[in-house]
């Protein structure tokens, strides 16, 4: 009875204030953004389900920070559901064996290997050949316009951050619009710049990225002191738009997740990782 009167009261107030404040006491409806799992439980928990669909996600980090492994794990999930993905490789660094080891169905992956400058194709201004970054951006644009790809990875992992940051904001804005229209997850794999060239926690995709993750290596995992078994990585949520409203729940700022080497048949558990990490630290100290 009291609930009914509260509803009636709310409607009465809203009706009275209708001209000044429409729906004054009704909370704004939020759109639930579709997400796709990365295949790593720790990262999914950090991102409330995974990387967003129809938006740009940026994964930053230095070399050996686990960013490529994270993206391959995401692609493995997408190809396992029968969807096709694309990898635009600005520096020709993609390793198909690693992708297959992570479970990516290679038949459903379109790999575009940008070539070093000096190739046959030249820009309209003639004389000056397209750089690898130019090729990668053009290829990404074409793939987004074509539509039908569940995920497109723009791999700028070996491109210097100061070069990647010169990509105009208009390009990222166009990519965001195209990704939204095509319902494609555009994942930008980028390098963390040095402190002099880029601000801390800066994003290449700037305001167009819905999610920006920062990756870092924690420690290696060694078996018996002679074999590298894997790594523990840290992933930090640097930016996330459209966060679902969850009162009373505080998200962790970062997660740690393990990745085993491709030849390791056993799955790496956190306990193993912690134990072996201590060993490798001892080795390093003694060295």
């Amino acid at each position: 009875m009291s609930a009914r009167s509260a509803t009636a009261l709310r409607l009465e107030i809203e009706h009275a204030l209708e001209r000044s404040f429409p729906a004054a006491l009704t909370p704004e409806q939020r759109t639930i953004r579709e997400t796709a799992s990365t295949g790593i439980a720790e990262v999914d928990a950090l991102l409330d389900g995974g990387l967003p669909v129809g938006a740009i996600s940026e994964i930053n980090g230095p070399e050996s920070s686990g960013r490529t492994t994270l993206v391959l794990s995401f692609l493995a999930q997408r190809t396992a559901s029968g969807q096709v993905c694309a990898w635009v490789d600005a520096d020709d660094a993609f390793d198909p064996e690693s992708a297959a080891a992570n479970g990516v169905n290679l038949r459903q992956l379109l790999w575009v290997r940008c070539r070093k400058a000096g190739g046959l194709v030249q820009s309209k201004q003639a004389a000056k050949p397209w750089t690898q970054l130019d090729q990668a951006l053009r290829a990404t644009d074409l793939l987004l316009q074509a539509g039908g790809f569940a995920a497109i990875v723009l791999d700028l992992g070996d491109t210097a951050a100061e070069h990647a940051r010169r990509i105009p904001l208009a390009t990222w804005f166009r990519f965001r619009q195209a990704a939204d229209r095509a319902r494609t997850s555009l994942v930008v794999l980028a390098q963390t710049g040095s402190a002099q060239t880029s601000p801390a926690h800066g994003s290449n995709a700037q305001s167009s990225a819905a999610v920006a993750l920062g990756c870092a290596a924690m420690s290696p995992v060694v078996a018996g002191g002679t074999v590298l078994r894997g790594f523990r990585f840290e992933v930090r949520n640097e930016r996330q738009r459209f966060t679902p409203f969850a009162p009373g729940r505080k998200k962790p700022p970062a997660s740690v997740w393990p990745a085993a080497c491709a030849w390791d048949v056993a799955e790496l558990s956190d306990d193993d990782a912690a134990f072996e990490c201590a060993r490798v630290l001892e080795m390093e100290n003694s060295a």
Binding site: G39, P62, E63, S64, S65, G66, T68, T69, L72, A76, T79, A80, G82, Q83, V84, A93, F94, D95, P96, E97, S98, A99, A100, N102, G103, N105, L106, R107, Q108, L109, L110, W111, V112, R113, C114, V121, Q135, A139, L142, L143, A146, G147, G148, F149, A150, G157, D158, A217, P220, L228, F231, A259, A260, C261, A262, D264, E267, M283, E284, A287
Partner: protein, 501 residues
């Protein structure tokens, strides 16, 4: 049995028509076609505009050039028998849509076919309606032809040669219709033609009026046949030809072409024609082979393979453009030949709950564009080779297919980022283990190294390998990296192959 009925189509000035069919840029200009050996070539065919400017059959090249310099704009093209053969095939295929029984009645510079259209009234209506549809079909294939319909084979043939547009003769009035036609249509020997000219016999009607017996007595037994032809009473045994279905178009340029736009301008017309011909048989184009004859007697070959057979002309033209852009001919082009293979039209069952996939035709264009940007062999799906050699793969064509797999929980595995080509490094060893390496720009101090992991294979061939791999954790200027160092045992060289990432 219904009365026999024949329709004859006569494409006069066929050498010029065959050349201009695929060249819309020349269709509005006066063009004369030369044949013979240089420098004594003679005009053998021309379009109506050239005739208006004073061009005539038998003119020499010099006369033609003089005419061109007077009037300006008269184009002289060499005769191309290959173009005529391709055009004849297209014409034959076009008329084969109206009757399966066709006999060829071509002459030196004209292409003519006589169709047995007996019993086609229920399909195409009365003879005039059929003739109009036939003329429209020819027009859409860029042919000009006169059409005559008659119950007599030869009457139809002679009327088609001597008239323009459509002529339909009702049964029994053939002799009247032929009466005013010249005797030259009978193609009799010169001496007999001269005799008739001396007698003052110039038309078929005058020949038919001569008494048969006296005519035979003076000109011989063959005169009976000519008189019967003039009376439209000559019997004919129909000899049908079989039209082979081949999708081929050929165009020869008068001057070597270097601009891609000019090639595509002609290529667009050729693709249009091929697509139309395939579509009339309810088929699509599966592959199109492009042969570019180049200067120096070389041939540049390209192939367009859409993911699915299609007759979408714009799409095929785009693929042609991208293919030529990706593989430009190394020299100027003399002629262009397109040969298509027909395939069954595409049928795709779509599903509401099927995952989103790229549209096949659009994906083809996208991949062709990507190849133009990145390179022919740098776009596709990677396929792992069946070998133990590290990092070996090959590229295969990407086919967007729904290959859903069962849910399998694959834990993440550390990925490698390869350096292609591997970077030569200098390595300092300490107690047999790498302790420091320098990549040319900076030095890395190795904190921990794991290895060596020896790998070798294919020792019996030139591309064998024998190497030691080291997983190293290194540090440089505060940055820690995990990388894969390889020592090539055969060359005693160290290489930085990849980074763990």
């Amino acid at each position: 049995m219904s009365q026999q009925l024949y329709a004859c189509l006569h494409a006069a000035e066929f050498p010029s028509q065959a050349l201009l069919r695929l060249r819309p840029d020349l269709q509005s200009l006066p063009v004369a076609v030369l044949q013979g050996r240089a420098p004594i070539e003679q005009v053998c065919s021309m379009n109506p505009l050239a005739r208006l400017q004073g061009a005539a059959t038998g003119m020499t090249r010099l006369e033609g050039e003089a005419l061109a310099s007077q009037n300006g704009g008269l184009h002289l093209l060499p005769r191309s028998l290959e173009s005529e053969a391709a055009a004849r095939a297209v014409l034959l295929e076009c008329v084969a849509n109206f009757s399966p029984r066709i006999e060829e009645a071509s002459s030196e510079t004209a292409c003519a076919f006589v169709l047995d259209i007996t019993g086609t009234e229920r399909l195409f209506g009365p003879p005039r309606a059929l003739a109009e549809r036939l003329r429209n079909a020819l027009k859409s294939s860029c042919f000009r032809a006169s059409i005559a319909v008659s119950a007599n084979f030869h009457a139809a043939r002679m009327l088609a040669v001597s008239s323009r547009g459509i002529t339909v003769i009702t049964a029994g009035e053939e002799a009247t219709a032929l009466a005013n036609l010249p005797v030259a249509l009978l193609e009799m020997p010169d001496d007999h033609a001269e005799t008739l000219a001396i007698w003052g016999i110039r038309t078929l009607g005058e020949l038919a009026a001569l008494p048969e017996v006296d005519l035979i007595a003076r000109l011989g037994q063959s005169a009976s046949g000519w008189r019967n032809l003039a009376l439209a009473a000559h019997a004919h045994t129909f000899q049908p030809i079989e039209a082979a279905f081949s999708l081929r178009e050929f165009c020869e340029f008068e001057t070597p072409v270097e601009q891609m736009d000019s090639l595509l301008f002609v290529g667009a017309r050729m693709i249009d024609s091929l697509a139309l011909r395939a579509a009339t048989r309810a088929m699509s184009l599966a592959t199109v082979a492009v042969d570019l004859a180049l200067e120096g007697k070389r041939v540049h070959q390209l192939t367009i393979r859409p993911a699915l057979p299609t007759v979408d002309r714009k799409f095929l033209l785009k693929l042609l453009q991208l293919e030529i852009a990706a593989n430009p001919p190394p020299a100027a082009v003399l002629s262009l030949t397109l040969t298509a293979e027909a395939g069954q039209s595409n049928k795709v069952q779509l599903g509401l709950f099927a995952p989103q996939m790229p549209e096949p035709s659009r994906l083809d264009v996208t991949i062709a564009r990507l190849k133009a940007i990145a390179g022919e062999d740098r776009v596709g799906s990677p396929v792992l080779e069946d070998t133990h050699r590290a990092g070996s793969f090959r590229m295969s064509a990407f086919n967007a297919q729904n290959l859903a797999e069962e849910d399998k929980e694959a834990p993440p595995r550390m990925a490698l980022r390869r350096l292609r080509p591997p970077l030569a490094v200098r390595v300092a060893l300490n107690a047999g283990q790498p302790a420091l390496f320098h990549d040319g720009r900076q030095s890395y101090k190795i904190a921990t190294s794991f290895g060596p992991w020896r790998s070798s294979g294919c020792w019996w061939s030139v591309d064998g390998w024998d190497s030691d791999e080291w997983d190293v954790l290194a540090e440089s200027q505060g940055t820690r990296v995990a990388c894969l160092l390889v020592m090539d045992r055969s060359k005693h060289e160290w290489r930085l192959e990849a980074f763990y990432d």
